[in-house]
């Protein structure tokens, strides 16, 4: 069988020989995962720095002469694009996807290791091209992360000559990298699972990453199409998106292009992108909650179906980002309906997370704190999404701070909390050492409470009608002076939260050498990655023999069992105790 040929041979073909093949041009999924994660976190820190600069300007307008209005727009654009694509997408799929899929499925590696390596290096190239935009004449683009034409390519917008082209090229390169990685992740899940690992025995983390990758493979082409066409508009003078406009007093050479077409293409990618980030977070948080509450995930099969349903529905809601674009109002009605329908499977997931905790043996470990924090933030962000999904409520709130508060809660803070929880959870397996617990708790509480201090007031600012993306507000009558005080408070909170991330970084580096040795399974978890013969796992993951899976990933607190967990690779005759009867009724 083909499967035997890839996964069960004694030695993988690409055994690393030298330092360079082991750590730099490595084809080992674990090394590539770390390369992806370090690069993503590195560029994410740049985006964090940009948000600090933005907050300084908003909290204390005109106090910092180095932030000109054009710079402010550039910071907004780069912050948004980096966070959504180069940090979250790359970290969840390139980082966690690479590390977890082969280990959790019981494979020795990805099925196309060479392409996997290529994927990382092409991703790095995309990041470098993006960063290069800071150093070209005119600087990076200031068009906003949505890059709407015509203003994105017309003079007057910062970076309209070099910056926008570099951004589009970088996105194109990123999509190539993602496609190479994504084909790998999907094929590995389909082909390289170990014996006994049926689809319905896969941990939800793998399910989430698997579905998100499929979404990405189908949705990223829409971004590629819009990037290619806008590059041509910008460089070769075509009129795909650019209408006839008078720009800076001069009629532009373009004629008849459709900006609305760009919005359709962009959001046909942009909305699935939300779920490309959210589904891995959903999956990972399910596993964190189950492990640290010592209880099987509630409604496992329903969780899988909900992931599938959300994935399918995410392709038919894109125009709810475009209610004020002037499109046909009947469209708005249709998309409001689909948007509210997608809340159903999402709510099922939230109920199931809460019911997993119900009467569980909750251990308030640091990963668990982050996982529970995620539930709070996600519910908050999700509820304001119901407001914005309705056309009549959305129209007055469009492009205000309400929107900023909403999507930072649901798509910024929530996935990032899961990222942190996941790092605290898997760091012991990756490095062999525990992260410092006290520093972790400080990091959690400051981040969790701090993000509320940042984003809750933004909802009030939005209801006042304060528009987003403004450099300064001047003497506008409808904005009361107290709004400025809210901005000062938000800025102070943002600075504190940003500082707390330095504690986390310190913890990551310090614990590499000073952390408590973790042992192979510090959380007493059932999934396969904790059952490797070595910690951290060696090349090939499983020593001479692949694991065999006998049960699902959630046998926690099984009545009659010796311990409160039974790993997936323990045969039935070695683990007395029936599968939990409560589990059978739970779903």
């Amino acid at each position: 069988m083909a499967y035997v040929a890839i996964a069960d041979r004694d030695h993988a073909l690409h055994d690393p020989q030298t330092f360079i093949t082991k750590y730099i041009w490595s084809q080992d999924h674990k090394v590539i995962a770390i390369q992806y994660a370090v690069t993503a976190i590195g560029i994410g820190l740049v985006a964090l720095g940009l948000s600090v600069l933005m907050r300084l300007q908003l909290g204390f307008p005109h106090a910092f002469s180095l932030i000109a209005p054009g710079n402010y727009l550039q910071f907004i654009t780069m912050h948004g694009m980096i966070m959504v694509i180069y940090l979250l997408t790359a970290l969840f799929l390139g980082g966690f996807g690479n590390y977890l899929i082969p280990l959790m499925c019981g494979a020795r590696d990805m099925v196309f290791p060479y392409m996997n390596m290529l994927s990382y290096w092409v991703y790095l190239l995309a990041v470098l091209v993006l960063v290069a935009a800071f150093f070209v004449p005119g600087g990076p683009t200031g068009a906003g992360w949505t890059l709407y034409p015509p203003q994105a390519v017309l003079p007057g917008t910062p970076g309209a000559s070099w910056g926008i082209v570099l951004m589009l090229v970088s996105l194109g390169i990123f999509i190539v990298a993602f496609t190479m990685g994504g084909l790998n992740y999907v094929t590995t899940v389909l082909q390289a699972r170990c014996r006994g690992m049926t689809f319905l025995r896969m941990p939800l983390s793998v399910w989430g990453i698997f579905m998100a990758t499929i979404l990405g493979l189908l949705a990223f082409p829409a971004l590629l199409v819009s990037a290619v066409m806008m590059t041509l508009d910008s460089l070769l003078g075509t009129s795909f998106f650019l209408p006839a406009v008078v720009s800076m007093g001069q009629p532009a050479t373009h004629n008849g292009g459709s900006p609305l077409l760009f919005q359709h293409l962009f959001w046909f990618f942009g909305h699935p992108e939300v779920y490309i980030v959210a589904l891995p977070a959903f999956g990972i948080v399910s596993d964190l909650l189950s492990t640290h509450a010592r209880r099987h995930i509630f409604g496992y099969r329903m969780m899988v179906w909900a992931l599938l349903a959300i994935g399918c529905l995410s392709f038919v809601v894109w125009a709810h980002h475009m209610y004020v674009s002037g499109m046909n109002p009947y469209f708005g009605f249709f998309f409001a309906t689909t948007t509210l329908i997608i809340a159903v499977p999402t709510a099922i997931k939230v109920y199931n997370w809460v019911l997993t905790l119900w009467r569980g043996d909750i251990h308030f470990t640091v990963p668990m704190l982050f996982a529970i924090g995620f539930i709070f933030s996600f519910i908050n962000g999700g509820l304001t999404g119901l407001f914005l999904g309705n056309v009549t409520v959305d129209v007055p709130l469009s492009a205000t701070y309400f929107v900023v508060g909403h999507f930072h809660m649901v798509m910024g803070v929530s996935p990032i909390l899961v990222v942190f929880g996941a790092i605290y959870h898997w760091y012991p397996k990756i490095s062999g050492r525990m992260l410092n617990d006290t520093l972790g708790r400080i990091h959690f509480w400051v981040t969790f409470l701090g993000t509320y201090a940042i984003y809750l007031p933004m909802h009030y600012l939005g209801i006042l009608g304060i528009p987003r993306r403004y450099y300064a507000f001047g003497g506008t009558t409808f904005i009361p002076p107290s709004a400025q005080w809210a901005n000062v408070g938000i800025t102070v909170a943002a600075l504190i939260v940003a500082a707390a991330q330095l504690v986390f970084l310190f913890n990551l580096i310090w614990s590499l050498t000073h952390g408590k040795p973790a042992g192979s399974n510090p959380w007493r978890a059932t999934t396969l990655e904790w059952q490797t013969p070595d910690t951290p796992p060696k090349h090939g993951n499983w020593g001479s023999k692949l694991p065999v899976v006998y049960r699902w990933a959630y046998d926690y607190s099984v009545p009659g069992a010796k311990e409160d967990f039974i790993p997936q690779n323990v045969p039935p005759d070695e683990a007395p105790g029936a599968p939990a009867p409560a589990a059978a009724h739970g779903a």
Binding site: M1, A2, Y3, I6, V111, F112, T179, G182, L183, N184, V186, T187, L190, Q191, A192, R193, R195, G196, T198, F199, L200, R201, L217, L218, A219, P221, A222, L224, V225, V228, M229, L236, T238, S239, F240, P243, N255, G256, G257, S258, L261, L265, F268, R301, W305, L308, C312, F315, V549, Y550, R551, W552, Y554, P571, P572, P579, A583, A584, G586, A587
Partner: protein
Amino acid sequence: MSVSVAFIAVLVGLVVWGLLVRRLTSRPWEAQGAPPEDTAQGGALSVPPAKIGLWLLLAVISSLFGLFISAYYMRMGHAHGDWSPVALPRVLWLNTALLGLSSVGMQAARVAVRRAQTDRVRIYLTAGGLFAVAFLVGQLWAWSQLNASGYFLGSPAAAFFYLLTAVHGLHLLGGLFVWGKTMVRMVPASLEVLDVRSSVELCTVYWHYLLIVWLVLFAVLLSTSA
């Protein structure tokens, strides 16, 4: 947009029904035990991974072309008087025939590889590749003809023609890269046909796929030409 949505809906539907539904009705919390040794694993498809990888790639490329075609129709629909249809160069018919011959050549190579006829594999594979190169040259000729008759990038319909044919051509170039690598491996006289079997089969699938994409593109362009 509706083209893309329909495409994705069909694709997702196929995946969900064909692959998952049967498997997603089991009760993992009740069942224990592993399948016997000879069934290899938990339910993977008995297809080589490279083939699955290729089919996934074809789905991604279909999404790409579906979106380009959606954009084409939407741009036409949104146009405010600046849309003037292109008169397609006649040479496109010849090119279509060339690409069809190229596909035939690849298919013949695939048949020969299955029968382990090494010499025929060499001949047919070479022919298939050369016809594809001829197709690309013909496409460039079509560009120059179009350019000569005054359709520049400023005309949106012409810009779309250049764009769609360029994207298709680039995909064919990618295929020719893999084809070239396979040809190099076929040079030694001591060639075992098994070594190239998978490459030839994957190339053939990709070639047929690009032929279908071209036929769809050509039909779309023809139906909207002057």
